[in-house]
Amino acid sequence: MFGRAGFGDRMKTDRVGQTTIGWQDQVLLFYLRSLLSQTFDRPEGIPAEPEKPGALTTPEPISAVPTALPDWARSEFQAVCFRIGRMVLAAPLAEVRRIERLDDSTKVTALPGKPDWFQGLARFHGEIIQLADTELLIGGKRAAPADGARRHALLLNGGRWGLVCGEIVDLVRLRESDVRWRANRKRRAWAAGTIIDRLCVLVDPRSLIPVARCQDK
């Protein structure tokens, strides 16, 4: 922890005190920036997997527990709030490239031997998307959709994944300070933090799809 100028020192001369605090802020800022820049570096010894051409790509698996703010949270950002069962969750819009509505005409092709949370494949605008059951991924149970309840898929950036959810509630604009960020994400790595005035969990979508975990099984 960085020491702050003592109260007595600051009382001696305002001018010196202000200079000292300014210097400390700069050091603190530098320290925080360096922490942020380290966050998503690949740990040494873990090679990057080559991507197959034409493959249904997956988001880069999380190789280490995220410990600091994700990239999208470094400045003001927008989040889309959506319903999962009775809960409302939010996901950063920076990680969502499109929202598709799922209805009776949406054909979902199930694949054998896949985990429960993998709902199957669906085509949107000629693109094959892998649908993941968000409710199962966050540790809930698969519930039959209520009559008339609309279902949607949040299509994520950096891979052909869609998070299946219920109604889209709204879009919110957030600042870093609007969220209580989780410092330790060893458990529930997908929960980046809580939007304070809504008491709504902000999801880190890249940590939600447990591709790496499934491959280990």
């Binding site: 197959k52 034409g54 493959a55 249904l56 997956t58 054909k107 092709t109 199930a110 694949l111 054998p112 031997g113 896949k114 985990p115 993998f118 494949l121 085509r123 000629g126 094959i128 892998q130 591709v211 499934c214 491959q215 099984k217």
Partner: protein, 158 residues
Amino acid sequence: MSEALEKRSDPVNQWVTFRLGEETYGINVMQVQEVLRVTEIAPVPGAPDYVVGIINLRGNVVTVIDTRKRFGLIPKEPDDASRIVIIEAEDQVIGILVDSVAEVVELRASEIESAPNVGNEESARYIQGVTSHGGELLILVDLNQLLSDEDKADLDQL
């Protein structure tokens, strides 16, 4: 690009498609020997659960496997539409019981996308890829990977 060069760089293969439940699967036509109506299949005591039994195919004993069970789908009694597809996979001739056989389709290699990279090792092994065809998705199965070495050894001993 000349047609010959295009064929070489983006070969076209034929796939026999069949239905299992709500989905359509494809297998390489070169590995399909024939398609039979379901006749009497003699059960084999002590056989693995995915083995329906054996049939006599012109004097040869052929093991028939329940593809639904193999793929972890809900079992279903064979009906009029059910077929046994006789295939050759790595020098082993077996029959796969399917709900129905649909058609033969031609697919360019470039039209096939790799299978999603999730799930148990077994399924990752035998699902070769997926492609869009006729407004729906077609799941392409690599028959050479359908049975593990252990499974093949078990079938040899039936």
